[in-house]
Amino acid sequence: MTDTTLHSSQPRLITLGGALPWLIGSLFLLVMPQVFTSNSAITIMNQMAITIVFALSYNMLLGQGGMLSFGHAVYMGMGGFMCVHFMNYIEDYSLPIPLPVLPIFGGLFGMGVAMIIGSFSTRKAGTIFAMISLGVGELIAACSVIIVAFFGGEEGVSGDRTMGPPVFGIEFLHQIEVYYLTAFWLVLSALLMYLFSRTPVGRMANAVRDNPERAEFLGYSSRWVRFFSFVAAGFFAGIAGGLFAINYEIVTEENLNLVQSGSILLITFLGGVGFFFGPILGAIVFTLLQSVLSLQTEIWQLYLGLLFVATVMFFPGGLAGVIMMHTLPFRLGKARLLLRPYVKTLLPALIGLLGTAGGMEILYHLRHAALGENEMSLYWISFDSHSVLPIAICLLTAAGGFWLAKRNAPELADAWHEANTPNGGVA
């Protein structure tokens, strides 16, 4: 959590160092669709953007406020439902509300709900908060199939984004138009959330996370600090919901159930709760894996599960943590030292992994493919899954790869140690 203090020493209004990442990021968002033009690519990017906003808002709770929530999807979902309803109002009463402002309503609604729930759930932190969030999450998810009038029951509520007044002739018929709308909201909300972490409330959120009692003796009510963070998080979750509604034009019970809440927890953690940009990484990587892997293999969720468990066990700081580990070597200008050892260990390891995955794929096919369907293709090669050779090859590559990696690991360790010790500095 200490990253937040890094800039604190130069109190200039806008530092280049501070602004640069944002400029680059925005530029990136602008050109992406020129690079990946296919419809599906844009669909994926939209999904990414939405997940990023949601994950960032979740990290306002977990990372900064130390509030572990199992029901954050509720606020996204609520925002989403509000927005579809708005879409339909716009359609039915042809209101002059342009689509791009819709997410605001989602945000406000999410915020409203967060106020109500937060009023009692944020009184305590820790397990109590976690469990209340779980309970409330389940309750509202369940209501969604009962209160059909608002939630549309099993079928959810769907709308049509193109019914609003066109903005500069844009009717949002096409993914690409929606993409830019989403991207705009992404940048805006990300920036706002970043700034929030710098406000007094944002800072005190950290303090309350670490030691709520002491904070009380510094003039701040832990409960209110929690409440404000919670409400803010609810707002941005609502925005994410609005974006979801605009993208998919349907919102259902799954948008606010436990599964959704759980996965955002995992995504955020995968990216790393310790740094602001962690959740962004998490969202990107997760969405990519999900949409790419799921097309390649049936057991992609198995790989995801393995990834998560591995992350928690070996990189509790998440992806962001792994990256930040390298800041010191770079500062010392010793990053080069790591290059070769990395290649020499990670490459074989990767091969090993591919081998293992191959083995699993074959096993799975063996076990579950229909009778007589022995033909399977893997890594663009097709072969008979029932013959011994392929699996043997896979297992051998796996073994070989890992053996190599293990053999070269010590070298990496040494290089790592070396790269982290300033010249002349004693161990």
């Binding site: 469990m131 309750l139 009038a149 468990v309």
Partner: protein, 318 residues
């Protein structure tokens, strides 16, 4: 009248089943402070292992062996997974179990596929023990009751007669110091986790045939188990028992008797609007108790947490 009795029995069975799960979880959660989200997954493993074993050695061997295997698995998970994650704090720990739950579900599908397993009640227990007003009470349910009561007594003994509980409690705040006093903390933790998961395993073996054995069976129970121990009060075994029964009966009765919100509302003096096709409240009016039966426990939990954070029997805060 008879129907009430019948439902009391059904509720009892549901409740005791829940208890077998929550017992293990209280052990782990309240003692080790680990929010073990994978607990229900171990329950699922119990069912699948038992099914697999029963194919070769029959149901009873399954009942004996499966929990042991699950327990060992649990111990391994603690030794090579949790123990490592433990040092990073509670949230990573929880995420670990969270990921583990995901992983186990996928592994189960990997091995046994997505369909339901034909895991059934053993022949000898496939008769109805007795029947009340035409409602048959299967012998298997009676059997379940005995098993879970046995577990309760066993656990109570372990917890009250040994120093284990205290050691773990202390290790929560200062594990290093507890070790410096001569207690082998890692071993104790591993043991507790093993036993806890083994209990989940037993529950799985027994529930598998009645609640059906399929990859989703863990998710279905996953969160309700937490609800149970929170309502009961963390760290209190009897609390877990009472809460389990409470939940069992509440849900059973809510389903068995169709109470209408409409009647209730008009009883307290509201008048049903003539046409409410448009009003948001229309669904509130048509609400019936079976519809909400399964979420009543969550409602109960939230209320308890707001007004009595330490649960029904708990000593300290959740």
């Amino acid at each position: 009248m008879e129907l009430i009795l019948v439902n009391l029995i059904d509720g009892l069975v549901t409740g005791l089943l829940l208890f077998m799960l929550s017992a293990g979880l209280t052990l782990i959660f309240s003692m080790m402070g680990v929010l073990n989200f994978a607990h229900a997954s171990f329950y699922m493993l119990g069912a699948y292992f038992a099914y697999q074993i029963s194919l070769f050695l029959g149901f009873w061997m399954g009942l004996l062996i499966a929990p042991v295997i699950v327990g060992l698995l649990g111990a391994l998970v603690e030794r090579y997974g949790l123990r490592r994650v433990h040092q990073y704090g509670h949230v990573p720990e929880l995420i670990f179990t969270f990921g583990l739950a995901l992983l186990i579900e996928e592994l189960v599908q990997f091995i046994w596929g997505k369909d339901q397993m034909p895991y059934t009640v053993p022949e000898i227990l496939q008769f109805s023990a007795f029947s009340i007003a035409g409602n048959a009470i299967p012998a298997y349910k009676v059997f379940m009751i005995f098993i879970s009561v046995g577990i309760f007594i066993g656990l109570l003994f372990v917890l009250t007669r040994t120093r284990v509980g205290m050691v773990i409690q202390a290790a929560l705040s200062y594990p290093r110091t507890v070790e410096a006093l001569g207690h082998n903390v890692p071993l104790v933790f591993m043991g507790v986790f093993g036993v806890g998961t083994a209990l989940a395993g037993v529950a799985g073996v027994i529930a598998g045939p009645v609640l059906s054995t399929f990859p989703g069976m863990a998710v279905v129970l996953g969160s309700i188990v937490f609800v149970t121990i929170v309502i009961g009060g963390l760290g209190s075994l009897s609390g877990a028992l009472v809460a389990s029964l409470l939940i069992g009966w509440i849900t059973t009765f809510a389903k068995a008797y169709t109470l209408r919100m409409e009647d209730f509302l008009s009883w307290i003096g509201f008048h049903k609007p003539v046409d409410m096709s448009e009003s948001l409240l229309r669904d509130v009016w048509t609400l019936t108790s079976p519809q909400v039966a399964d979420i009543l426990p969550y409602l109960l939990m939230v209320l308890i947490l707001v007004f009595r954070p330490y649960g029904l029997f708990g000593k300290r805060d959740a």
